[in-house]
Each structure stands twice: as structure tokens, then as C-alpha cells.
């Protein structure tokens, strides 16, 4: 097992070149390229899926065929907009906030494996790194809300911070359950450990808790109270426009891709395929990310949003106890059998 893990731990880029700087540049380009393309695909899927679930059609004009270029057109539109900063706003913090919200999800993509050699970096503390990064983006939201010099932005940011802190615990606890069963903290190690059985089977409640918590991390429906436009205009992001706003949106969709990828690795066996179906590993991983992203969008189309207190109650009084009990059960299972 250790030999397999050691072998599987070498990125394909390391196998291409021995030069450190060239490898670094290739990895950067790859991860950035992935981050700039795949969330746009998920965003397009959201337009179309939400539309058809609401009996309408979504983008049809941009680019001709079913509006495939809609998000590219949106990107161009955001780039050419005026950079407005409110007069009373804290300029430096206001400008840095989108970056702080977006970069952690790029960092999570760095450790996401698409096969046993197709990844940028196989950190030994992979899952720990992922959890830490997802906590950093909370600071970005707080920065945005505080620096906007707007009461509604501040309330939205505080709601988001409370929500994200509350749901950080179930997220980490469900990941801890997986780490316990896998016996490894590197992402590739966790994926390899699911060769015989995907952890969604013994740890199904933890999978549900992880998905629900990642929705809350991203302020997605039904946990989008901090950004609901009927509630609080757009919460912490109210004063933003143009490229900064586009970065917040990119952070949201990038977060969906990143956290779906992490959930796929933790619970759905990552790039491990089902026996008998001959598809390349990266396609399995892409398929799982696609299905989990679709589920995220499906939940947005279906459910009303939770009130802030219902949200908190749900996290503290339901998710955390269930995840703790299940981890105890998994520990017992692992030691006894």
C-alpha cells in the first residue's frame, strides 16, 4: 500500500521535466487555466439547468448554438465596466477582498487529483490544506462587507461569517471521518484507499453532511441568506461591480468546482472508476465533479432558503451531533474489523 502511494504521488509534470522553474510555471498555467475555464462551464450549466427546471430556455443567442458563449460575453462585459469604489470605502481592503475570496479555491484546485499522476501537487497534508483554504475565503467576505461602508453589506458579511464558521465544523468533521477510514491525509492517498469500496457507502451520512456544509460554505441556496437579493440586496458584495464583482462570482463557481472535486475524492473514490466500465481516470473525476455540481444547481432550483436562525440551528443541533456520532461509529468499525 505504501509503495503504491509513493508511486502514485508523483505528478505527471515532474515526469515531464526536472527543471523546478519550468515545472512550477507549467503547474501554474495548468491550474489557472482550469480555474478560468471549468467554473465558466459550471456557470453555463447553471444558466441552462436553472432555466429548464423553470420551464424556460436560458441563454440561446450568444455564440449561436444555445448561447454557449454567454459567460464569455459576460466576462468581457465585466472587464469593460468602470471601476467604482464608494467614497467612504476603505480602498485597499475593498480592492483586496475579491482576491482573498477567490485565491483559496484556486489553491484547493492545486491538490485535486484527476488520476494517480494527473495533478499539480500531492501534499502530504492534502485534506488539511483544503480545509484550511476553505476557511480563508471567509475573511474575503468579511473584508468585502466591512470595507463597503454600507450597513447592508456589513450585515450580510456578518451573516456570511457566522454561517461559514458554523458550517466549517461539520465540513471538517466529515472529512475527519474519511481520513480515519483512509489512513492517509494526502488527496491521492485517500483516492487510492477507496479502490475496493467508495466511502460514500459506509459513510453516507457524512457525505450528505459534507455536501450540505459545502453549500453553506459557498452561500448557495438553501443557505444563501447572506446574499439573497430579496433580503439584503447582495450582502457583502452589494457595492461591487465590474471586474471585482466578476471575481466574486468566479470564486463562487470555482468554489463549487473545488468543493465538488474534494467531495468526489473524499467520498466517491476520486478518479477510481466503477469496475467493468473502461473509461480513463480523469473522465471519471470530471464526471463526478459534473454530477455533484449538477446536484448543487438542482438544489438551488428546488428549495426555498433557510432563515439565519434555522440555518444555525441546523448546523449546531443536527449536523454536528450526527457527524460526531458517525465518526465514533466509523472509529469503532475500523478498530473492530
Amino acid at each position: 500500500m505504501i509503495d503504491v502511494l509513493a508511486q502514485a504521488g508523483v505528478s505527471f509534470i515532474e515526469q515531464l521535466t526536472t527543471s523546478f522553474w519550468l515545472a512550477l510555471m507549467l503547474k501554474t498555467v495548468l491550474v489557472l487555466g482550469f480555474f478560468l475555464v471549468v467554473p465558466l462551464g459550471v456557470g453555463y450549466m447553471e444558466h441552462k439547468v436553472l432555466a429548464h427546471m423553470q420551464s424556460r430556455m436560458g441563454p440561446m443567442e450568444a455564440g449561436g448554438f444555445h448561447g454557449w458563449a454567454q459567460l464569455i460575453a459576460d466576462g468581457v462585459k465585466f472587464i469593460q465596466k468602470e471601476n467604482v469604489v464608494p467614497a467612504a470605502a476603505d480602498r485597499v481592503v475593498f480592492t483586496l477582498a475579491p482576491g482573498v475570496a477567490m485565491v483559496p479555491y484556486i489553491a484547493i484546485l492545486v491538490v485535486l487529483p484527476f488520476s494517480d499522476t494527473l495533478f499539480a501537487l500531492n501534499l502530504d497534508v492534502g485534506i488539511f490544506f483544503v480545509m484550511a483554504m476553505s476557511s480563508v475565503s471567509v475573511i474575503g467576505v468579511l473584508m468585502a462587507g466591512w470595507s463597503s461602508a454600507n450597513k447592508f453589506s456589513l450585515i450580510g458579511a456578518l451573516r456570511a461569517a457566522a454561517q461559514l464558521i458554523a458550517y466549517e465544523l461539520p465540513l471538517v468533521l466529515s472529512a475527519a471521518g474519511v481520513v480515519m477510514l483512509a489512513g492517509a491525509t494526502s488527496m491521492v492517498g485517500i483516492a487510492e484507499a477507496q479502490e475496493s469500496l467508495w466511502y460514500v457507502v459506509p459513510l453516507f451520512p457524512l457525505f450528505v453532511i459534507f455536501m450540505v456544509s459545502s453549500l453553506a460554505e459557498l452561500s448557495r441556496t438553501p443557505f444563501d441568506m447572506p446574499v439573497a437579493d430579496s433580503e439584503i440586496i447582495f450582502g457583502a458584495y452589494t457595492e461591487y461591480g465590474g471586474l471585482k464583482f466578476a471575481f466574486f462570482l468566479l470564486a463562487e463557481y470555482g468554489g463549487i468546482v473545488a468543493l465538488s472535486g474534494v467531495a468526489a475524492v473524499l467520498f466517491l473514490g476520486g478518479y477510481q472508476g466503477l469496475p467493468g466500465i473502461p473509461l480513463p481516470d480523469p473522465l471519471w473525476m470530471a464526471g463526478k465533479i459534473g454530477i455533484l455540481s449538477f446536484m448543487t444547481i438542482w438544489l438551488r432550483a428546488t428549495f426555498p432558503r433557510l432563515r439565519e436562525d434555522q440555518l444555525q440551528r441546523f448546523a449546531w443541533l443536527t449536523l454536528i451531533p450526527i457527524s460526531l456520532v458517525w465518526i465514533l461509529g466509523a472509529a469503532f468499525f475500523k478498530v473492530a474489523f
Binding site: 439547468v49 432555466a51 429548464h52 427546471m53 423553470q54 420551464s55 424556460r56 430556455m57 440561446m60 438542482w298 438544489l299 432550483a301 428546488t302 428549495f303 433557510l306 434555522q310 440551528r313 441546523f314 443536527t318
Partner: protein, 192 residues
């Protein structure tokens, strides 16, 4: 949500989360059905027979009674006319006729209420389902009598009466023009 049970004691519940799953199946079913959107302008909409698009004027029927102009709530019909006298065919006094100089409808003001069409005693005004006459300049929205006459070529024959409907009395325009439509002639309504 089915989590906070203290608020839902009085509601019969078959199970935790079943309502959520039911909601998911509803959205999934809706997604799999084709959307009913009509993609205008690639596809022309299927409009009902009595659609109020634009008002057409048949100048031959107009006797310049000024009723439409007076009844219009918005005062958007502009009429100028003069009297002409003609020699009588056989003996008697000279016949005077009113001749339209200007009949214009200002579609920037028109609210499409149809009062002018209803009130015209001589069936000179008709509804047409044409709606694509938007302009980039607002003064082009005043249609003069030449353009209003052109709209008459787009007027549809009146739709057939529904089952059990009582026909209007006294050989109305509806009846005679329905006959005319059945006869296959151009659909411009009939002079009373």
C-alpha cells in the same frame, strides 16, 4: 425544513425529508420536459384572432363623423376634412360630401382600448394583429391615412362565433363579413 419538529407537531408528516425529495422530483420532471418558450424573433408568435396590434382605416367607409376622434380617451386621432359639393345625378339640390384631408393616429399616445373601432358607425376602423412597427424616432409613430390604409391588408377575417353564441341583430358587420370571408373575398369587413 423537517428538522425543527417543535414547529410542525400539528402537521401530519409521513417522514423526514420526503417533502424535499418530492420537490426535487418536481424540478427534475420540469427540466426533462421541453420548455414552452416561443423564441421571438426567430419564431413568430401564434396570436389569437382578435389580437389588437394596430388600427387600420378603410377610407372608403369613413364619412368624417368625428366620432372616433371625440371618443378616443387619449385624443390621439387627428382628423382634418373639408366639404365638397357635387352635382346631383338627377334633379334636386347639390350633394355635399366630406373629404378627408388628414386622418392620423398617434400610436405613441394610443392605448389600444379599441373605443374608436367600437364606436365607428360605418366600420371604417379595424383591428389588425400586426405589432412590429416600433420606431427609433417618436414622430414616426404617427401613422397617416396612407399607412393606415395599408394596414387594412393585414386585417384578419372575424373569427367564427362560438358554440351557442347568439348572433348580433340586424345583419351586422360580423355576419355579413363572415359570409364574405366564407365567400373567399378579401377580409376588409363589409359596408353596412
Amino acid at each position: 425544513m423537517a428538522i425543527d419538529t417543535t414547529e410542525q407537531k400539528d402537521q401530519p408528516e409521513s417522514g423526514v425529508g420526503l417533502g424535499l425529495l418530492k420537490g426535487l422530483t418536481v424540478t427534475m420532471k420540469t427540466m426533462l420536459r421541453p420548455a414552452i418558450t416561443v423564441q421571438y424573433p426567430h419564431v413568430k408568435p401564434d396570436l389569437p384572432a382578435r389580437t389588437r396590434g394596430v388600427i387600420a382605416l378603410k377610407q372608403g367607409n369613413c364619412t368624417v363623423c368625428y366620432k372616433c376622434s371625440r371618443e378616443c380617451p387619449d385624443w390621439c386621432i387627428y382628423i382634418d376634412a373639408h366639404k365638397e359639393t357635387h352635382d346631383p345625378a338627377g334633379g334636386g339640390r347639390a350633394r355635399s360630401m366630406k373629404v378627408l384631408d388628414r386622418f392620423a393616429i398617434d400610436y405613441a399616445l394610443c392605448m389600444y382600448c379599441g373605443i374608436c373601432v367600437e364606436v365607428c358607425p360605418f366600420d371604417a376602423l379595424f383591428w389588425s394583429p400586426e405589432f412590429e412597427y416600433a420606431e427609433y424616432e417618436v414622430d414616426l409613430l404617427i401613422h397617416e391615412k396612407e399607412r393606415l390604409e395599408e394596414w387594412t391588408y393585414t386585417v384578419l377575417p372575424p373569427p367564427a362565433l362560438e358554440e351557442g353564441a347568439v348572433p348580433a341583430e340586424g345583419g351586422s358587420a360580423t355576419e355579413t363579413s363572415a359570409q364574405a370571408a366564407e365567400g373567399g373575398s378579401a377580409a376588409e369587413g363589409a359596408a353596412v
